[in-house]
Amino acid sequence: MNAPENKQQFRLVGTRPVRPDGVEKVTGKAIYGPDHVSPGMLQGAVLRSPHPHARIRGIDTKKAEALAGVKAVVTGQDFPQAADKLVAGAESASNLRWVAQKCMAIGKVFYEGQAVAAVAATSHAVAEAALKLIEVDYEVLPHVIAIEDALAEDAPVLHDDVFTQGLAEKPTKPSNASMRFAIERGDAKAAIAGAAASFTGRFTLQPVHQGYIEPHACVAQWNADGQAQIWCSSQGHFAIRAMTAGILQIDIASVRVHPLEIGGGFGGKTTVYLEPVAMLLSRKAGRPVRLTMKRTDIFRSTGPAPGAVIDITLGAAADGTLVGAEIELKYHGGAFPGANEVYSGVGGAVGHYRVPNASIVGWNVLSNIPTMHAYRAPGAPQINFAVESAMDELAARLGIDPIDLRLKNIVHPGEPSASGVPLGAIGYAEALEAAKAHPHWSSPVAPGQGRGVACGAWGNYGGPSTASVKLGEDGSVLVTEGSPDIGGSRASMAIMAAETLGVAYEKVRVTIADTSSIGFSMVTGGSRTTFATGKAVIQATEGVIEQLKDRAARTWGVDVAAVTWEDGTAVHGDQRLTLAQIAAKTGTTGGPISAEAVVDPHDFLPGFGVHICDTEVDRETGHVLVKRYTVVQDVGRAIHADYVEGQMQGGAVQGIGWALNEAYVYDRSGKLDNAGFLDYRMPVASDMPMIDTVMVEVPNPAHPYGVKGVGEVPIVPPLAAVGNAVSRATGIRMHDLPISPDRVYGLLRAAE
């Protein structure tokens, strides 16, 4: 499984064929989460808390149950008592005790919009009417939203059994700071004190939402014999199965989860919110139940990404060499412990640079907002905004070109990564050189505009995947895998299988199978699918090739070792048997041909990106326009170039939205004030220029086609790229996101 020494020309890898699921998706035939219908299906609806923090004294569901057409009502009392229990399944461990409460409050509500009861009825209108008949007796408790408020001495403490983890001495008092995580090396303070230039600043960000357009939705059917089926869209149906079975305390094998097409996730669909509720409703009603979230409820109750307060000091020598970093970051954790963003925030803060002296301390801070959930490179964009803004300041203070300053300090292959494990064949330097050589960087900055540059990294991932490859009797090829296709991965899998097998792309068809029809596969996330599931597909394809060679060898009566596989054909001397010829004879050569591969690779490599952004600032109104944007990234190798570029463009625009307008706005009563697309303000088409892309290909030698993973990196640099561009256009450092017109206006006036 080694990549070729020299860059070789591939037949299919790197091309742009039409994706196998394309026609269904452009004609409206594809079935997404909210589209599935089961016979006899009931419609469910969920009652949600109007209070951000309250004890539930009691819930009276009698009137709702008496309403004609209502078939089941469930509350937190219907959930099995959940103790602490970690399940893997997704990318990081989840404690089911908390996951269960993200599905439904059990005794206490911790954020506005948390589910408190649910109804299944013969129609949606009846279910909605029944919700109005449920009486919940709340004892409203004081709430807290902002990070600094939650850390205050007199702040309401959310959980009396959550003590700060990661302290050397076990704390005696419960705290909203659920976790401290730090990396210390050398003496950062002393190094910075002796630096030729340093920058100190505080940066703040608000929570943002993943913003997928498809609402969470599922249909669950839990039969009298204890067997269940769930139809839903998710980033990983095996994770849905693990969490649902775990929360409901039933066997994994009794829950069959069917993956529907997924309408965007970005990390937000790697957990359960509805499935266990729909299951409980179905068991009570004896019929399948559909639950679909409203957009307002998606904003109010599903995982945003953390807001942050970050204090940073970076110091550099006169030649630009970084000498020290002192950083304290505080991230929103949401209502329950377990958010992971602080780990990657601390670990990745200056992981893309060599910094001999570093003190990086992170805190996960609980408050009365939904529990944070993964959003594309979770935890990285926030800290990167601070670090790359500080780098921009250092470059200006030292009079060094910002790209040169990065080149001076970047990590190189063989040097230790943040985790201490040496870096492999990374392409960071190559990406920076490509950015420097790009016409965007060398073009003059237009009058009234500012140009910013920022770098960012993400570790990427491997993890378990299963794939099987089966040969049709006519020589066509069926690939079956367990990784939901969220952005064209069926096409990548078909390309890799066809490339390996030496057949036409169109001869390969790809199916994403349910949890009972293919082996375990981790979620589609962490930029792991093309890498890890791709490896499984390639390995299974190689298994098929071995069998094909064996059939040919036995047909010819020669040793299999003497048979080679070339361009879809078994070859021995001048004897040849094509794949189709062998397939046609399987009935008399030993039966059907198929192979399965289960992999758990950890030889993935991180990705690095460099973004260049030009902005124009209206000095009278504070409006910022992105005029030109270029994304340069080491992608390992692009399997399907369109979808690699698409990841780079989409991630960049999400990051630009985060920089300019997106933010959770809470009112004084602790309610989310902008729980809709109108006021959450994601970028629309007319806000954006074209997003230029440069795919730098430094292949991963541990993947047959050099794949590294591309999806997460592109959201890391834009916050600082935009911030740096606005700072250079205005002469004012942008410390706080979003860089909205009123904020920029205020900064401009204050500077006058």
Binding site: L86, G267, Y343, A374, G420, V421, G525
Partner: protein
């Protein structure tokens, strides 16, 4: 064999110690040993821990450690 304990496990389970000298035939056995040193670690390890043996990630914990010089214990990081 040297075990480098990365945050948060160093403070959370080993009193802030970031280097341990410890012998074990396999990573599984190592997890058990660490569990003896710090009750509660073994239960969390499967869901939260990752190991690198002499600079290479080792997802298979049955792998023999004979001849290994350095094992790094680190937190698994999630993606979106």
């Amino acid at each position: 064999m040297r075990l480098i304990v990365m945050p948060p496990f160093d403070r959370e389970f080993f009193g802030g110690k970031d280097t341990l000298e410890i012998e074990a035939p396999t990573l599984l056995a190592l997890v058990d040993r660490l569990g003896d040193l710090s009750p509660g670690f073994a239960e969390q390890a499967e869901a939260r821990a990752a190991f690198a043996v002499d600079g290479v990630f080792a997802p298979d914990w049955t792998r023999a450690l004979a001849g290994a010089e350095e094992v790094v214990l680190l937190q698994r990081v999630a993606g979106g």
